[in-house]
Amino acid sequence: MLENNGGILLNIEDLKVVYKTDLETVEAVNGISLTVMKGRTLGLVGETGAGKTTTALSILRLLPSTTGRIERGKIEFNGQDLLKLDENMMRVIRGNQIAMVFQDPMTSLNPVMTVGDQIAEAIELHNGKMPHEEVNRRVENILQMVGIMPQRRFEYPHQFSGGMKQRVVIAIALSCEPELLIADEPTTALDVTIQAQVLNMIKDLRDRLGTAMLLITHDLGIVAQICDDVAVMYAGEIIETGTVEDIFIGDWRHPYTAGLFNSLPDLRSQATRLKPIPGLMPDPSNLPNGCVFAPRCGNRMDICEKEHPKTVQKAQHRLSCHLYATGENPRRRDVT
C-alpha cells in the first residue's frame, strides 16, 4: 500500500492461527499478511467463519487461551512485534494504543455499572494518577463527542437503546485516544437508520482524531462508504487486497469477490433472480489442497485443485488466483 499519511501502523506477516481441541484442529487463519497505514481505514471483508474476528483477537492477543494458538507469523505495531511482548506489556497496549469495539454492545458493557463509571474506568486504568475532576471532565467530553448528553452518565446500560449503547462502547474505545481502533461489525446489531447515524459518527470521529481503523464487516456497502483499503478474506486467507477503488472498480477481480458483489441484492437493478455463489465455505478443519475457493468457483481450472495460487500484484492491488497467474488480464466479463 502507499505512503499516504506517513508510515505503517500495523503490519501482519504470514500469520497462522489454529484452534486445537482434542478432536480436531481448525485452521482459522492461514498465513495472512496485511498492513494498516497510519490514519487510514482498512476494511476486512468476509463471510462468517472466514477468520476475520480471529485475526482481530490475535492482534490484541485475546484468543481463548485453552484452544487458540498463534502458530507462526509476526504482528508488528509501530515496529514492535506484539507476539513477543509479555502480558504486562500487552496490557499497556490494549485500550491505550489499540482499542476494540465488539459487535454486540449489550454483552460488552457491564450491566451493573453506570456508563460514566465504565468510561472513567478505562481512563483511570491507563492514566494512573489523573485527578478525579480531570477524569470526570474527560468522561463528559467523550460522551458529548459521541452524541450522548453528559447528564446521562449516571444511567445504566439497560436504560440506553441499542444505538446509544454502541455509542457508549465507542466512547470507551476512544477514551484513551488509541492509534488503532479495531471495530468488529460495529453496526450489525443496529437498525438501518441507527446504523447510518453510528457510521456517520465513526467517520466523523476518525477524521477528527486521525485514528487508523481496522473495520471488520460483511457489508460491502459499509466498505464503500468508509474504508480506504480493503482486504477480502475467505476460509482463513486473504484472497484479494487493494484500495477501495481497486476492489470496486479495478480491472482485476478475484472470482470470490465477484461472487460477493453478484449475490448482493441491488437496490437499483430490476433483475429479480440473484446470482449466488454455489455451495458453502469449506470446513476449516478440512481445507481443500489447492485454491480454497476452487470447489465453488465458476472459473475453476485443473491447476486450481492441485496448486495453491501465488499472489500477483499490480500497484497496491494484490490477489491470489490462477486466472491472473500469468500477469495477464482476463477480460473482466469472463470472471463470474
Binding site: 462468517t48 437503546s161 438501518v192 437508520t193 464503500a224 470496486f248 460477493l260 458483489f261 433472480r273 440473484l274
Partner: protein, 322 residues
C-alpha cells in the same frame, strides 16, 4: 394487484395492544389493513419494534388480535374452531428468522420435516410419510445424506432449508417469511432468496415477507408496506415505492442503506435524527413527527390517514394534502 376476486389474505383494521404492568398499553399493531392476492408477495418493512412480526403472528392467529379481522379467502378466521381451525392452519405456514431456535434440537432432519405430516396425519403409515419428507428435502435442496443428521451439525443456510421444508410440508397456500435470511451470509442469503422465489413459482405460493432489509424485499415483493410504530405509513407496488417514495420515513430508510457504490462515497449520508419512540401510551398525531424534518402543527394533533396518491400507492402523511 387490482383483482376483482377476493384476496387470499385480508386484514381489516387489525389491532393488537399488549397490556403492561400498571395498565399501560403498548400499541404493537395499530389498525393495519392489507390485502394479498393469491400468488402475490407482500413485503413488510420496518425497524425493530415496529410491529411487523406481530402482524404476521396475528394473521396466523398465533396471537389473538385486540380488535379487527383477518380474512382468509373471504372468511373470518377468528371464528374458526376445532377442525376448521386445523384445516386453516394447514394452508398458512410461517418460516422463522432463526431456524435453530424454532426446531427441536433432538430430532433428526427427516423427523423435523415429517413432524407436521405426522401431526396432521396426512399419510397412513410411516413409510409414506418419510418418503414425502425425503421428497421435500430434494425440493429445498437438502442432500438426502443429511436425513439422519441433527440440526446442530448443519450450517445456518441448511437449517433455514429445514425450516422451509417444514413450512412446505402441508402444501400451504400462504407462507409468512419472518426475516428468513437476515441471519445468513450474503452468498447464502442469495441462495435462499432464489429458492423461495422458485418455490413460489412452482407451487403458486402467496408470501408475506417480513424484513428490515429494503434491498432484499425489493427482489422478492410485488407490493411493499412500510411500517412505523404499529402503523402502515406507505404501501405501493415495489417499483413505484423505490422510484417514487413519498413518505419521509420511507425516504429516510432508503437513504440510510450504505450502497456498495463508490460514486456516493463522499456524499454525506442523509441521516434522520433521533430514534423510534416508545410504542407505550402513544400520543395522538403522526408517529413519525418527532423525527420528521417536514413536521408541522397538524402532524402533532391528528393521525394522518392513508390516502391514495396514484393507482395502488397509499401514503399516510399530511405533507401530501397541503
Amino acid at each position: 394487484m387490482q383483482e376483482k376476486n377476493v384476496p387470499l389474505i385480508q386484514t381489516i383494521d387489525l389491532r393488537k395492544l399488549f397490556k403492561l404492568k400498571g395498565g399501560v398499553m403498548l400499541h404493537a399493531v395499530d389498525g393495519i389493513n392489507i390485502e394479498i392476492a393469491s400468488g402475490e408477495t407482500l413485503g413488510v418493512v420496518g425497524e425493530s419494534g415496529c410491529g411487523k412480526s406481530t402482524v404476521g403472528r396475528l394473521i396466523l392467529r398465533l396471537i389473538e388480535p385486540t380488535s379487527g379481522q383477518v380474512l382468509y379467502d373471504g372468511q373470518d378466521i377468528s371464528k374458526f374452531r376445532g377442525r376448521q381451525a386445523r384445516d386453516m392452519r394447514r394452508n398458512m405456514q410461517i418460516i422463522f428468522q432463526d431456524p435453530y431456535s424454532s426446531i427441536d434440537p433432538r430430532m433428526s432432519v427427516i423427523e423435523l420435516i415429517a413432524e407436521y405430516l405426522f401431526i396432521h396425519r396426512v399419510f397412513k403409515n410411516k413409510i409414506e410419510t418419510f418418503n414425502r419428507a425425503a421428497e421435500l428435502m430434494d425440493m429445498v435442496g437438502l442432500a438426502r445424506r443429511y436425513a439422519n443428521s441433527y440440526p446442530h451439525e448443519l450450517d445456518g443456510g441448511r437449517r433455514q432449508r429445514i425450516g422451509i421444508a417444514r413450512a412446505l410440508s402441508l402444501d400451504p397456500k400462504f407462507i409468512i417469511c419472518d426475516e428468513p435470511v437476515s441471519a445468513l451470509d450474503v452468498s447464502i442469503q442469495a441462495q435462499i432468496l432464489n429458492l423461495l422465489m422458485d418455490l413460489q413459482e412452482e407451487f403458486k405460493l402467496t408470501y408475506m415477507f417480513v424484513t428490515h432489509d429494503l434491498s432484499v424485499v425489493k427482489h422478492i415483493s410485488d407490493k411493499i408496506m412500510v411500517m412505523y410504530l404499529g402503523q402502515c405509513v406507505e404501501i405501493a407496488a415495489f417499483d413505484e415505492l423505490f422510484e417514487n417514495p413519498l413518505h419521509p420515513y420511507t425516504n429516510a430508510l432508503l437513504a440510510a442503506i450504505p450502497e456498495p457504490d463508490l460514486s456516493r462515497r463522499n456524499k454525506e449520508m442523509k441521516v434522520i435524527r433521533g430514534e423510534v419512540v416508545s410504542p407505550i401510551n402513544v400520543k395522538p398525531g403522526c408517529r413519525f413527527a418527532a423525527r420528521c424534518d417536514d413536521c408541522v402543527e397538524t402532524c402533532r394533533e391528528r393521525d394522518p390517514e392513508l390516502i391514495e396518491t396514484s393507482n395502488g400507492h397509499f401514503v399516510a402523511c399530511f405533507k401530501l394534502k397541503r
